[in-house]
């Protein structure tokens, strides 16, 4: 079926099976490979995007449910990599392999959008759906605090 959705500010029509997860529609049909596949079962957060501003695990979100909605992926979080979360990530050299970081950044950006100054406990709650196998958690936590400082 034809699904019309807005991806990073541009309206797109994708021809997809309705049950295809948004993740694969983004990666294989829209050519946006910044959103990653890690588990396919909403267990790791690598595929996190924003749907109408809310963080969503795109591997477990049918593309048909995205019809008519506003999707932001890592490629569209900012025009030039200048979102405070992206900046903080670079300043603290958070990424190791980097693979989980699209999802981490999208989760962190969503957290800061609704809670501009999260505590460690709030960060743990918001970020525990995002696995980093390289183990960058302590830097992620510090980078969120740093980004919060910048955005407040």
């Amino acid at each position: 079926m034809a699904i019309t959705l807005t991806i990073n500010g541009t309206e797109r029509t994708l021809e997809a099976e309705p049950d295809m997860p948004l993740l694969w529609a983004l990666r294989d049909l829209a050519g946006l490979t910044g959103t990653k596949f890690g588990c396919g079962k909403a267990l790791c957060g690598a595929c996190t995007v924003h749907v109408d501003g809310e963080p969503v695990r795109s591997c477990s979100f049918p593309v048909s449910a995205a019809d008519g909605r506003d999707i932001t992926t890592i490629e569209g979080l900012s025009a030039d990599g200048s979102h405070p979360v992206q900046v903080a990530w670079r300043e603290l050299n958070v990424p190791q392999c980097g693979y989980c970081q699209s999802g981490q950044i999208m989760s962190a950006a969503a957290l800061l959008a609704r809670n501009p100054a999260p505590s460690d406990a709030e960060i743990a709650t918001a970020m525990s759906g995002n696995i980093c196998r390289c183990g960058t958690y302590t830097r992620i936590r510090a980078a969120i605090h740093r980004a919060a400082g910048e955005s407040s």
């Binding site: 490979t33 596949f37 392999c97 970081q101 525990s128 696995i131 958690y137």
Partner: protein, 756 residues
């Protein structure tokens, strides 16, 4: 898009048009077009006037850009930053005028297998040489042009200078003059006092790309018209397809083809070859997965169909109770135990583990008249090339193994079976094919870290000094992946934290016991050091408590006088990670220093609240030593919380301190994951775990509130960094748990004790 070139912010803006809303699609179009990642490092025509290529790692262009070739794979350890740091430093090149290229798999680069924490420790001089050679040749070219002695010229900031005459020439301008300049036989290295980049925490070269979703991994590679493949493989190791029906699969929208992969040859070691099975090829990944789910397959389970990990555990434990092969023998251990004032024995067990890199194995291949191009997240591009060539039956000069970024490796991606699958399917289908493993594929069909059982006995004298230590280890060998007759631990594996035990115990016997594999066995970050360090550092802690001695003091006593240990003195076959004991000694003084440092960092000896404890472990592996102190608390419901961690490393010379610290932080979490949660089990030959629900890893909610790291300033050649942080983590946590609760953890993962 050039897959592995560094993407600067400026370039990102150029590429994406630096406009408002529409720009991201500009990027996506670029990102999708990874047909020609810049992995081909060979300059097409390096006529001396176009570019100056003093060796395979350096290419200087007339525009002054220094192209540096990274022949090692980036999987998060930071080698794409550290490697050019070394070359650029020796070359006196400007960091901003460097372009990084990723090498294809090719013997001309020397060893490219990115494992064993070798990238710096075994290549530091090679990389320095690559830079120094280029520098001396540029000086020679300038000196000849100016008619002055080369000894009067020096390099600084991307140019050669002749102070006496005030002349200088930029590197780009000198390219045309390098024709006929001979390479020095042995270039002179810089005085370390003049290092500009070595020892500095330069930012990660791929950091910008990673922060904007523009970093290209194996799973992200695309070609026009490519098909996506998902493969159903036999649940049991060594099994094969008996019969299958693809009718329903072919009816799934998007499915294009169903192809049977060649079965593994019966009775042969698996090596790096594909596992066989049935592949579904489709126009997108989801359709391929759906088609695969619709396959009907009957399996012939093969020789391991009855494998049950619980039963196997008993066999392994029994094997560790029986006399094994003596691999190190010092003094008279039987006599020492017989005459000891007190003896103690314990058994340790650790299960199979999966590496579970965040990016599952993925590869894209295109087979055509000109051979095969394969793009993959490989740690081992030369083995990728060899394996693909072997499977396709073509000469390896016709295989181009491109290396993408790796979304983690941890040893899994040293084995190129997934790249070989893609190559096979591309040839059979006549299309470019990308193979994407699911997480379930990754966990069920991996090359597993070995299961192990160990038995230890020790004798103490009246003063609480250890007089005898008798230790047996039983585990199926990685060798079995390459040789069906491999029955047990090899000398190389035993050199990973077993025969290199540094303790000054007068009577010491180490034995290896046989064990047969029932799954593919492979490397996992720090390999056998994981279970050996767990047993040795835990058992030492047990003895410290028996002797009523503070563990750090007890460990110091075990380490004995500062001295250099050579396991060969006690009959061990010991390879010291492929490097000399003269340059990289087992130096008990240095190990003790790490111990003291980390104990000091953690404030060892401070009063702990009830239900909390500190645990310590120090372990040398990959020619570096890491000490860990863990603070652990038992919550009111009896569950374990790792509150804080301190880690100190002696890695000799360090190229990028921040990346070393990052590796320690990561090792702390990785070590926690395997200590607390990690287990792969099997029933009826099939792996039970399938995803992160059944194979949990540490998440933010479990991460310690801080992991403090410290690099000891040691004037010594570089040791390894990626792996040595892992082994001491599990025993430090177990020892802390004992300090907190009085209960001893001798089995990994600790969650088996119902405490996580």
């Amino acid at each position: 898009m050039n897959g592995l070139r560094r993407i600067s912010r400026r370039e990102f803006l150029q590429r994406t048009g630096q406009a408002g809303g529409g720009l991201v699609f500009a990027l996506s179009v670029g990102a999708g077009c990874s047909r020609t990642p810049d992995t081909d490092a060979a300059p097409v025509s390096a006529a001396a006037t176009d570019a100056f290529m003093p060796n395979v790692y350096v290419n200087i262009r007339t525009d002054g850009i220094v192209e540096i070739v990274c022949h090692r794979s980036e999987m998060g350890q930071g080698i794409r930053t550290c490697l050019p740091q070394v070359i650029a430093d020796e070359l006196d090149a400007d960091w901003d005028r460097i372009e990084l290229k990723q090498a294809l798999g090719d013997e001309k680069y020397g060893d490219q297998n990115t494992d064993g924490s070798t990238s710096i420790r075994r290549h530091f001089d090679l990389l320095r040489g690559a830079g120094a050679t280029a520098r001396e040749m540029l000086i020679a070219a300038a000196a000849a042009e100016w008619g002055v002695p080369a000894s009067e010229c020096a390099t600084r900031e991307h140019a050669v200078h002749h102070e006496a005459s005030g002349r200088s020439a930029g590197y780009g301008d000198l390219v045309a003059l390098t024709d006929g300049v001979a390479a020095p036989e042995s270039p002179t290295f810089k005085d370390p006092a003049n290092y500009r980049y070595i020892g500095k925490s330069l930012d990660t070269i791929d950091g910008f790309a990673m922060s904007v979703g523009a970093a290209n991994y194996g799973i992200d590679t695309t070609l026009p018209g490519m098909l996506h493949a998902s493969i159903e493989r036999c649940p049991t190791h060594g099994g094969a397809v008996a019969a299958f029906d693809a009718t329903a699969a072919k009816a799934v929208p998007g499915v294009v083809d169903v192809i049977r992969l060649p079965d593994p040859e019966a009775g042969k070691a698996p090596g790096f070859l594909p596992l066989g099975g049935i592949a579904v090829l489709a126009t997108n990944t989801w359709s391929a997965m759906q088609g695969r789910a619709a396959l009907e397959i009957e399996w012939a389970p093969g020789p391991n169909g009855a494998y049950d990990s619980e039963k196997y555990r008993e066999e392994l434990a029994a094997s560790s109770q029986k006399e094994g092969r003596i691999v190190l023998d010092r003094g008279d251990v039987a006599g020492a135990l017989a005459s000891a004032a007190r003896t103690h024995s314990a058994d340790y067990y650790a299960p199979h583990l999966a590496q579970a890199p965040m990016e599952p194995p993925a590869a894209l291949a295109q087979v055509g008249d000109d051979g095969c191009d394969v793009w993959s997240c490989t740690q081992n591009p030369q083995a990728t090339r060899d394996t693909v060539a072997g499977l396709l039956g073509i000469d390896k000069t016709r295989v181009r193994a491109h290396v993408t970024l790796l979304g983690g490796g941890f040893g899994r991606k040293s084995k190129p079976d997934f790249a070989a699958e893609a190559a096979w399917l591309s040839r059979e289908s006549g299309q470019p094919v990308k193979v994407t493993w699911t997480r379930e594929d990754d966990l069920r069909h991996g090359y597993f870290h070995s299961v192990s059982a160990q038995h230890l006995e020790a004798g103490l004298d009246g003063a609480g000094k250890v007089t005898g230590w008798h230790h047996r280890t039983a585990f199926p060998s990685i060798g079995s992946t390459f040789d069906v007759n491999a029955a047990g631990p090899s000398g190389g594996e035993l050199g990973l934290g077993f025969t290199d035990i540094p303790y000054a115990i007068p009577n010491l016997r180490m034995e290896a016991c046989d064990a047969k594999p029932h799954v593919r066995i492979g490397w996992l970050r720090s390999v056998c050091n994981i279970y050996h360090a767990f047993a040795i550092s835990s058992f030492a802690d047990e003895l410290a408590h028996l002797a009523k001695t503070d563990p750090p003091a007890f460990l110091k006593q075990l380490l004995g006088e500062p001295r250099r240990v050579d396991p060969a003195d006690d009959g061990a076959e010991y390879g010291n990670y492929g490097q000399g004991l003269d340059t990289h000694p087992i130096d008990t003084g240095r190990i003790a220093q790490v111990l003291d440092t980390v104990a000091g960092m953690a404030g060892w000896g401070r009063r702990m609240p009830p239900g909390s404890g500190l645990g310590i472990a120090v372990h040398r592996s990959f020619l570096s030593t890491v000490g860990v102190v863990a603070e652990v608390a038992a919550d009111t419901d009896g569950r374990m919380r790792v509150v804080e961690m301190w880690m100190a490393i002696d890695a000799g010379l360090v190229v990028n301190p921040d990346r070393v610290k990052a590796q320690l932080e990561g090792a702390g979490i990785f070590g926690m994951s395997l200590a607390l949660h990690g287990e792969m089990s099997a029933t009826d030959g099939a792996i039970v775990q399938g995803n992160f629900d059944t194979y949990p890893v540490v998440r933010m909610s479990e991460a310690p509130r801080a992991i403090h790291t410290h690099i000891l300033p040691v004037d010594a050649p570089p040791g390894g960094v990626g792996e040595p942080g892992v082994p001491p983590v599990a025993p430090a946590i177990a020892n802390a748990w004992f300090a907190a609760t009085g209960s001893r953890l001798r089995e990994m993962p600790f969650r088996k004790a119902g405490i996580t």
